[in-house]
């Protein structure tokens, strides 16, 4: 009797069972098949259509929505436009100081860009033309070398 009480105490307090206790438990479970039969016969609950419809809505709401192709296209177009606008803006900002800036007069202000070389060449030519100095293409030199109209004696006699 005390052995059974001890066994029941172990089951109630979920203490570890000896091999003999475990064997006894298996036998006891075998003898309870009628209860299993009763429990397995419990009714099942069929959910309503409203319940299922609500579940479908919850499932749809839980799904991360894929972006539509139009949204993807519009997004890409917008991004491209924004990048182009930024590039244009940067170009304008870079160009603006050059357009309004004074003509560089010292070597330190000179740049090596092709545009600057052309400006320098133009200024040099203008200076040479004004002062009559410089290379052989200066106006004075060209006047000296210009042969002019070659008058003949006949021409002079006609006057």
């Amino acid at each position: 009797m005390s052995e059974r009480k001890d066994w029941l105490d172990k089951l109630n307090s979920e203490r570890p069972l000896t091999l003999q206790d475990a064997h006894r438990l298996d036998e006891a479970l075998e003898n309870q098949h009628a209860v299993k039969h009763l429990v397995s016969g419990l009714s099942e609950e069929e959910p309503s259509l409203a319940w299922r419809s609500q579940l479908n809505e919850r499932l749809l709401a839980s799904q991360p929505r894929p972006k539509s192709s139009f949204k993807i296209w519009a997004g890409r177009f917008g991004l491209g436009t924004a990048v182009a606008a930024c590039a244009f803006g940067v170009l304008v900002m870079v160009q603006r100081p050059k357009m309004g800036a004074p003509i560089p007069s010292t070597a330190s202000q000179m740049t090596t860009s092709a545009e600057q070389i052309l400006i320098d060449a133009h200024e040099s030519a203008a200076f040479a033309a004004a002062t009559g100095s410089g290379d052989g293409t200066s106006p004075t030199q060209s006047l000296q070398s210009d042969p002019g109209i070659q008058w003949t004696e006949a021409d002079l006699g006609a006057f």
């Binding site: 438990l25 479970l29 039969h37 419990l42 579940l55 499932l59 839980s62 799904q63």
Partner: protein
């Protein structure tokens, strides 16, 4: 929409074999609503039946059961297949029932402990306890329902999942993270409790 195709199949519950279930799981991992609808068809009654007996109200049971399927759908990618889909769904359901009970501050019920005197009564041989001779009428089933509802959550879980949902000892031990011996002892105590209720009803 394909998702709503499942509604039309409510009446004829679908039984899935292992290979068909595996195909559906793979489809569900790619967020296929129709495949998941078939899984819901196959398990909704069983999950709802289990949850209904674990919580206090029908509304709460329906809400928890929906949450079971929503979580299953969201986490299908994490389902590793080490347990069956059925065990996984009942594990989610069990955890949600426990969470719900904690939130509501429900005191744990201690019903189900068997004393020596009760055990002596139950061990008396009785040919009326032959399963074939038991008539499962509505009155008797109401007594069984009452007995189950008065069990502690621990014993009720094991009784319902083993005897009603036919999960094995090992599956239950893995799911509840307890030794197999504890599963068996809880099952024995739960059955003894039900047996005691039925004995009282019959006498």
């Amino acid at each position: 929409m394909a998702l709503f195709a499942g509604v039309t199949r409510l009446a004829n519950r679908e039984k899935l074999d292992a290979s068909a279930e595996q195909v559906l799981i793979e489809q569900c991992r790619r967020q296929n609503f129709e495949a998941f609808g078939r899984i819901v068809d196959a398990y909704q009654s069983r999950v709802l039946g289990f949850v209904r007996r674990m919580v206090s109200s029908s509304e709460e049971a329906e809400d928890i059961t929906q949450e079971v399927f929503v979580r299953a759908f969201q986490n299908m990618g994490k389902f590793d297949g080490r347990s069956s889909l059925r065990t996984w769904l009942f594990r989610i359901a069990h955890n949600l029932c426990i969470d719900s009970a904690r939130k509501r501050g429900r005191a744990p019920v201690q019903a189900g402990l068997v004393d020596d005197e009760t055990m002596e009564t139950l061990e008396v041989a009785d040919e009326r306890w032959n399963p074939e001779s038991l008539v499962l009428d509505d009155e008797l089933m109401a007594v069984v329902e009452k007995a189950v509802s008065t069990l502690s959550e621990k014993l009720r879980t094991v009784l319902l999942l083993h005897d009603k949902e036919e999960l094995g000892y090992d599956e239950l031990a893995q799911m509840l993270e307890i030794p197999v011996g504890t599963v068996k002892s809880r099952l024995f105590l739960a059955r003894a409790h039900v047996q005691k209720f039925v004995e009282e009803y019959r006498s």
